[in-house]
């Protein structure tokens, strides 16, 4: 079984600060993976490690069973769209396609040409004069025409207006449907991911908080609402992610493989957004506790 991305205790440090640490992930191929987390959580770091722009400070990482950027062939199997979709400003769209053809062994010229045509772009136009949405589409075209097995996209829609954003994601879904390609895309907005992803990785405070198929995660996470109390009588497998009390009521978000049978809880379904926010909140809480205990030690 091939893993799209297999990380074991992966970490990246800049100076004394860890941008990513203790990251252990095994993402199977065949998914559209949403990599979600607040700004500065380590999403870009993880993607740059995956495409070989960065090398790890600790741990190991395999992408499609090979070390990132270990060979031209390996690089050819990964399509990467970097944050803010960089292109060569002085070169025309046509030259960008020529570059793709010259540098990528599996380049699909027909696909590239056709996409530029469909987008209504003039091949002779300089890339520096494209709008943000057009530039993102060009960057996506370059990545797709490589005919990669894995597409990595770093906040591809963050800087786009809602319409361009929808078009971009629609294109992406077409590609996933047509060619058997795994996708990992990062965003700090859950709404972007909800539409397209079937697998999610929540990164916060430089660590992976939770990951798995969205369907599984939603079926094993519950929001419990009941009269105010301590959280006991929960099944063995349950973990409390978040808990809040008002004078009369207690609300908790728990993960549990077993169903919650205690009738005194009313069990509500969760959305992906609820789940992501709960885990981000947990990470933030842990960070505060850590800061406080460090402060106390001084």
């Amino acid at each position: 079984m091939t893993s799209a991305l297999l990380a074991v205790d992966l970490g990246k440090r800049y100076g004394r600060k860890w941008a990513l640490s203790g990251c252990t992930l095994d993402i199977p191929t065949g998914h559209v993976v949403g990599l979600v987390g607040p700004n500065g959580a380590g999403k870009t770091t993880l993607l740059h490690l995956a495409v070989g722009l960065l090398s790890p400070s600790s741990g190991s990482l395999m992408v499609l069973d090979e070390a990132p950027a270990s060979s031209a062939e390996q690089l050819g199997r990964i399509g990467f769209v970097a944050q803010d979709t960089p292109v060569f400003e002085n070169l025309s769209i046509a030259t960008h396609l020529q570059m793709g053809a010259a540098l990528n062994p599996k380049w699909d010229e027909q696909l590239a040409q056709q996409r530029i045509l469909e987008l209504g772009l003039d091949p002779n136009q300089r890339a520096g004069r494209l709008s943000g949405g057009q530039r993102a589409q060009l960057a996506l075209t370059l990545a797709i025409a490589k005919r990669p097995s894995l597409l990595l996209l770093d906040e591809p829609v963050a800087s786009l207006d809602p319409l361009a954003r929808r078009e971009f994601l629609a294109t992406l879904m077409e590609v996933v449907a047509e060619h058997e390609v795994s996708v990992i895309l990062s965003s700090h907005l859950v709404a972007d991911l909800e539409r397209v992803c079937d697998y999610v990785v929540v990164l916060a405070s430089a660590r992976v908080q939770v990951n798995g198929e969205i369907e599984n995660l939603l079926s094993t996470h519950h929001r419990l609402v009941g009269s105010r109390r301590d959280l006991d009588n929960l099944p063995e497998s349950a973990h409390v992610i978040e808990v809040s009390h008002t004078d009369r009521q207690t609300t908790a978000i728990v993960s549990s493989a077993d169903p919650i049978l205690d009738p005194s809880w009313s069990v509500e379904e969760m959305t992906l957004e609820d789940l992501v926010l709960a885990y981000m909140g947990q990470a933030e809480e842990q960070r505060r506790v850590l800061l406080r205990s460090n402060g106390g030690a001084k």
């Binding site: 722009l53 970097a82 060569f88 002085n90 570059m99 062994p105 490589k146």
Partner: protein, 348 residues
């Protein structure tokens, strides 16, 4: 990758090679004129009157030469600044490295191809400019007979190829270390000057042990005396060593020592007596001295003293060119190696 390295570099290349074409046009227009003057000079030597031809040659030199030499002198630095410094720095600065390094080409191959393509173009540009200048200036260089002077040595023949390679590699390295074009350009210029100037002043003259030659003062032209506040002192000026690099010429006695004033008082009394005490400004030193007394004194000096010369002879010119070119090429290769390693291992 070679095609893409060239494609990204094309517009920068066109600017420099366009400039070189412009220089070539100027050279082609003015060159034959210098060559014919030089030809006239060779034939006139038989007849005698060469003054007007020499003066038109040197006035031509005054008009065009400073520009041509300055351009040839500056060209390597310009290549380092505008070809070298942005080569990697601009990719890092604009973020396009994320596009370039994630194509189906390893970073190893990306950087080595870029270094090879633009490095070769730098050497070609430096070599072309030097070759054109060498051809264009050959009549005047022959008349001036001073090939070791920095304006000839550093701008002509093969050394500029080494300088161009070095400046380019320096620019790339600075760009890779700074990751930003502008500071990299400033650093390139500073380091280039900081290497070239001391090299020319302190290292080049001593690359080979200079020749020490002792010769009779009889062969030396331009012998005479110079008035100093303390009386006359002897001078022997002309070394008569065309195209050589001269360090010193001194007049040394058979048993050591210079021509001192005491020695002159002891041996050239008759001449000294004829020197007017206060000749006033603008009056020749030899005014009032009878030729016989002058000749007698010079003969006595010639008999007791020799001229000692320390110099790099003209026939070592090409050895020096090769050594210097090789040194700068080696520096360029070392810097290129550092860049290669840094891009592969240290960036991002």
């Amino acid at each position: 990758m070679t095609w893409f390295a060239w494609r990204q570099f094309r517009s920068q290349a066109l600017v420099v090679f366009g400039l070189l074409v412009a220089v070539a046009v100027v050279f082609l227009i003015t060159g034959p004129h210098f060559a014919s003057l030089f030809h006239d000079l060779k034939t006139c030597r038989a007849k005698g009157d060469c003054e007007s031809i020499t003066s038109s040659l040197t006035s031509g030199q005054d008009t065009y030469f400073p520009f041509a030499q300055a351009f040839s002198l500056l060209l390597p630095a310009l290549l380092g600044l505008f070809w070298g410094a942005p080569l990697v720095a601009r990719e890092l600065e604009s973020g396009t490295y994320r596009l370039a390094w994630t194509q189906g080409v390893t970073r190893k191959r990306w950087i080595s191809t870029k270094l090879a393509v633009v490095g070769a173009a730098s050497m070609l540009a430096g070599g072309l400019m030097s070759w054109m200048l060498t051809w264009w200036a050959s009549p005047i260089d022959t008349v001036n007979a001073d090939r070791f002077s920095s304006l000839v040595f550093d701008t002509s023949y093969i050394a500029p190829i080494g300088y161009a390679a070095f400046a380019f590699a320096l620019g790339v390295t600075a760009g890779v270390l700074w990751r930003r074009t502008l500071p990299a350009m400033a650093t390139t210029l500073a380091f280039y000057v900081a290497v070239r100037v001391p090299f020319f002043h302190f290292i080049r003259p001593h690359l080979l042990t200079p020749v020490r030659q002792i010769r009779s003062l009889k062969n030396v032209g331009n012998i005479g005396f110079e008035r100093t506040p303390n009386g006359l002192s002897f001078i022997a000026g002309d070394t008569n060593l065309p195209n050589s690099l001269n360090f010193s010429s001194s007049v040394v006695g058979d048993h050591g020592g210079e021509v001192t004033r005491q020695w002159l008082r002891d041996h050239c009394r008759s001449m000294l007596q004829q020197v007017p005490p206060n000749p006033g400004k603008g009056v020749k030193v030899t005014t009032g001295i009878r030729p016989e007394a002058f000749t007698e004194c010079v003969d006595k000096i010639t008999a007791a003293f020799h001229q000692v010369l320390l110099y790099q002879p003209a026939n070592r010119f090409w050895t020096f060119q090769w050594i210097e070119t090789a040194i700068f090429l080696v520096l360029a290769v070392l810097l290129g190696g550092l860049t290669y390693w840094w891009v592969r291992r240290r960036i991002a």
